[in-house]
Amino acid sequence: MILTYIELRDGKIKKASLEALSEGRRKAAELNQQLAAVVLGVGKEGLAPEIFAYGASQVYFLENPAFKQYSTQDYAFGLAALAKKIAPEVIFFSATALGKDLAPRLAVKLGVSLASDCTQVIVKEGRVEFTRPIFAGKALLSVTLKSSPKIATLRPNVFPLAEATAVLGDVIKESISLPEDRPRAWVADILEEQGGELDVSEADVIISGGRGMKAPENFDLLRQLSALIPRSAVGASRSAVDSGWIGHQHQVGQTGKTVSPNLYMAFGISGAIQHLAGMSSSKVIVAVNKDPDAPIFKVADFGVVGDLFQVIPSLKEELKKVLA
């Protein structure tokens, strides 16, 4: 059995979890195994049809009042109890903030190693091989895991969504009792970022600015472009972040986030090696830069040599036309 962890944010299934479920469905078919999914919370059975639609034949709903709010320790406890009971061969998480926090803890409870942030899963002669970027994408590492279950986190925005179909499966509810005297961390509050901006790791389109943006207020130009484009987010190079022009959570590259959006737009970014590592797996890259020799043009599918302060206003108008 392949078990996929389903992550919820504000009660809804994250797209990254549906991607992991879709990959689970493909691998389950190759390995001739069943696909199951697990949700933690209280009264979440209403989500079952959406999960069945992506190919799971069983959905486990683990319940405890403590599961209403994410806690690494409680969630790992619940998942370990289930994994010991149903003994899956493979467990998929998505490599989100939560998945990266939770999967290693579960791996220790089950005594197994973990493949993090994978971008490819291949079945070879019955063995599962995981490929993952290292050095923020400067190289790729392929591994197999010697122990079972094989746990992997899958990078968001990489694995294609399967086509949803209206099928039914089994809903299995399990009540989990947690240890009483556990020294645990708990989430006291969630502070949403101002403007409710999408995170670069989840965006379909990233509109990034570098040193060429010249000043913090000029990032408003990128925010205006982002406002036009659905599921887009504003990104930045390290030099823009280190100059204090924009928060580091927007940083793309080796000390920021490694991203694979459908479209990466680089404005005034020269293309330092640590930046290119973090965005070169984007499906389409376009760049606007004054310097025709900027390394970013070596990876861009379409480049404009020009002044971004002149190009962006007219690009905005052109995009409005094609989006209309």
Partner: protein, 260 residues
């Protein structure tokens, strides 16, 4: 409060990575190695907490003799002590193995710790596994990817980055916390610090002496291949008046790439 900081020696982020495919390894010749940037934030935070609250800040790495350099950097920044857990193997990419070594070391040698600090991930292996795994081995609470820490008495609050938001997480001590960029601005070493760090003796503990079985020290991850990412081809580059180039760009995005 006594704080343990775990750090790693990694290739500089500006480095070009070359592979030795026969050996499934990174070519180390010609690489410049540094203290992993996220570990530097962890080290800095340990010094700030120690300076405010007293106690000792001890820095630890798992690695070969070459890693002594990053320990000396941490001593020069102001760490009180440093320890090298000497690993005979090169990079295994197996977070479980590293975490097991660290957890056993902490249990045996530093049972009086109050806080274990890590970088959120090493720059290179990019696993982001070891902090959580150590926490689980030791039965401790954890907060990862932290941009702010407040310690009061025997409890703490840390702000953790998630997608588009921050979680404010409360936890009892002892605990594991991993650092994200933005936590602080690491200090530079002083000349006096560098001189003192040179003289300081760094104990070296072979990991085989921690009482772990050969199975526990054997990697559970098998490297089956290493490769360079596919090389991207440079596409079309246009110049001209902005009205024209922006029209061409919008046309490319909409009609050719079909991404907008």
């Amino acid at each position: 409060m006594n704080i343990l900081v775990f750090v790693k020696r990694v290739p500089d982020t500006e480095s070009k990575i070359r592979l030795n495919p026969g050996a499934n390894a990174v070519v180390e010749d010609g690489l410049n190695f540094i203290l992993s940037p996220y570990d530097e934030y962890a080290m800095e935070e340990a010094l700030r907490i120690r300076n405010a609250q007293g106690g000792k800040a001890t820095v630890v790495t798992v690695g070969r003799d070459e890693s002594l350099v990053v320990l000396r950097k941490c001593l020069a920044m102001g760490a009180d002590e440093a320890v090298l857990l000497k690993d005979p193997l090169p990079e295994t990419y197996d977070g479980l193995r590293t975490a097991r070594v660290i957890a056993r070391f902490v249990e045996k040698k530093y049972p009086d710790y109050g806080l274990l600090l890590f970088g959120k991930q090493s720059v290179g292996a990019d696993n982001a596994q070891v902090p959580s795994m150590v926490a689980e081995f030791l039965g401790l609470p954890q907060v990862n990817v932290v941009v702010k820490i407040e310690i009061t008495g025997d409890a703490g609050v840390a702000y953790r980055e998630i997608e588009g938001a921050q979680e404010k997480v409360a936890f009892p001590l002892p605990a594991v916390v991993s650092a994200q960029k933005g936590l602080n601005e690491p200090r530079y070493e002083t000349l006096k610090g560098i001189m003192m760090a040179k003289k300081k003796e760094i104990p070296i503990i072979p990991i085989e002496e921690l009482g772990l079985s050969p199975e526990e020290l054997g990697p559970q991850i098998e490297i089956t291949g290493m490769a360079m990412p596919p090389v991207r081809q440079a596409g079309r580059v246009v110049t001209g008046p902005p009205e024209e180039t922006s029209k061409q760009l919008a046309g490319f995005l909409h009609n050719d790439a079909k991404v907008i």
